[in-house]
Amino acid sequence: MKLHLKIWRQKDTKASGKIVSYELNDVSPDMSFLEMLDVLNEQLVSKGEDPVAFDHDCREGICGMCSLMINGQAHGPEALTTTCQLHMRKFKDGDTIVIEPFRARAFPIVKDLAVDRSAFDRVVQAGGYVSVNTGNAEDANAIPIPKENADLAMDAAACIGCGACVAACPNAAAMLFVSAKLSQFALLPQGQPERERRALRMVDQMDKEGFGNCTNHYECMASCPKGIDVENIARMNREYGFAFVKARSKP
C-alpha cells in the first residue's frame, strides 16, 4: 500500500505546530497503525530527520496510552478499537490520512502527537481513597452484590483512560471518563463510605482542569474504544446533585 500522511508536527508545548506531508510506500495491510508509524519513523531517522513523537505502550488495547485523531476521529474510523488495534487493512491504497493529536486545553501537546493527559490522573487522585479494612482478604461472597450492579460497575471499570472521549467531544468535556471512574465505585458497597465526597471532589477537579461541559452529543460514547455508556454520565449528574444536598445538610 502507498499512503499519503499528513501529520501534525509540533516541537514542544509552546511552539506552534503545522501539518507536514509524508509519503509512505510498501505499507503492509497487516500492520497496525502504530507499526505503520514505526516504519515512517525508521525512514525519518535513517534520513537524519526528527521522528514523529506519539504515545504508545502495551499495543494490545488495554493500557490507554495510544491516542491520535485519525482522519478526524479518535482512534480512527473503527468503532470500539484503540489506535494500536487499528490495522492498515482498514485503509485503501493511495489513501490520504490526516493524523493529529487529541486536542483539548486540559491535554497540552508535549510534542507532535504526544499529549499530556495527567489531568485525568489528578481527577482520579481528587477522588481519594477507597476504604478497605485491613487484615485477611474478605470471603468472596461475604458482601452480596446484585448481579446487575456488578455488571454495570465492571462495564464502567473497563475505561482505560485514553482520553478519546475528550478528543471526540465537540466541547472537549471529560464527563464520560470522570463518570466511569465515579460509577465503578458508586455502584459497589466498597465505594459507599466516601461516595458523596468523591463525587464532589472529582467533579470539582474536572472543572478546574479546564475541560468543557457536556451537551449530550454522545460523540464520547461513539468514540470510546471500550464502549463506556453515557448512562454513567447520567449517574454522575445524579451523584453530584445528591452529594451536594447531603453535604449541605450535614451539621
Binding site: 501534525w8 482522519n71 490526516v98 483539548a104 486545553r105 468543557g212 461541559n213 457536556c214 461513539a222 449528574n237
Partner: protein, 220 residues
Amino acid sequence: MASYFSSSIGRKHILAFTGLALCGFLVTHLAANLLIPFNPQAFNTYSYKLITNPLIYVAEVGLVGLFLVHVALAFWLNFENRAARPQRYVSKKNTGRGTTPSSATMVITGLVTLVFLVLHVMNIKFGAHYTVTYDGVEMRDLHRLVLEYFSSLPNVIWYVVAHVALALHTCHGFQSAFQSLGFNHPRYTACVKALGKLYAVAIAGGFAFIAIWAYGRGGV
C-alpha cells in the same frame, strides 16, 4: 451554594430544569393558541382573563427569569466549551453515532429562538391594541391582531422558519434535559427520546399551523 452554580454539573442541572419548564410553558401557550382558528371569542376571553389576573405579573416575572437564566447559562457554558479547545482540529469528523443535526445546531437554533421571542413579544404583546366587546365586556382583540400579523407573507415565513429552529432546539433539548438531570434508563430513555421528537414536531407544527391557517384566511 456558589460552588453548585459555578460547577459544570450544577449549571447543567439548572439549564435542563429551566429548559423543561420552558417546554411546559410552550404547551400551555399552544393549547390557548389552538383556540384561534376555532373560536375567536373563547381565545379573546381566555386572553382577557389571563392578562387581567393580578398573578399574571408574578407568572411573567417567573417566565422571564426562567428564560434569562436559561439563555445566560447557555452562553456561559458555550463560552467555556469553546475555550476548552483553543486549537481546533485541522480535520474533524463525527462518528455518525453521536452528534445529530439537532444537537449540532443548538447554539444557532437557540439564538434564532431568542431573536424570534424578542420580536414576537414586540409584535404581539406590545403590538396594536384593538378592542372587542363580548356581553358588554370590552377586551383586547388579540384574535384580530394575530390575523392581521399573519396576513403578511414575510411574517408567516419568518414565523415558520423560527419554529423549525424551535423544533430542532427542543428535539435535542427535551431528551438532553433528562440526561442532564440524571435520568437515563435502558428501557425508558428510548421513550423519552421518542417523546422529545413528538413534542418538537407537535409544538412547532401546532404554532406554524396557526400562522399558515391565518395567512390562508387572507386577513381579518
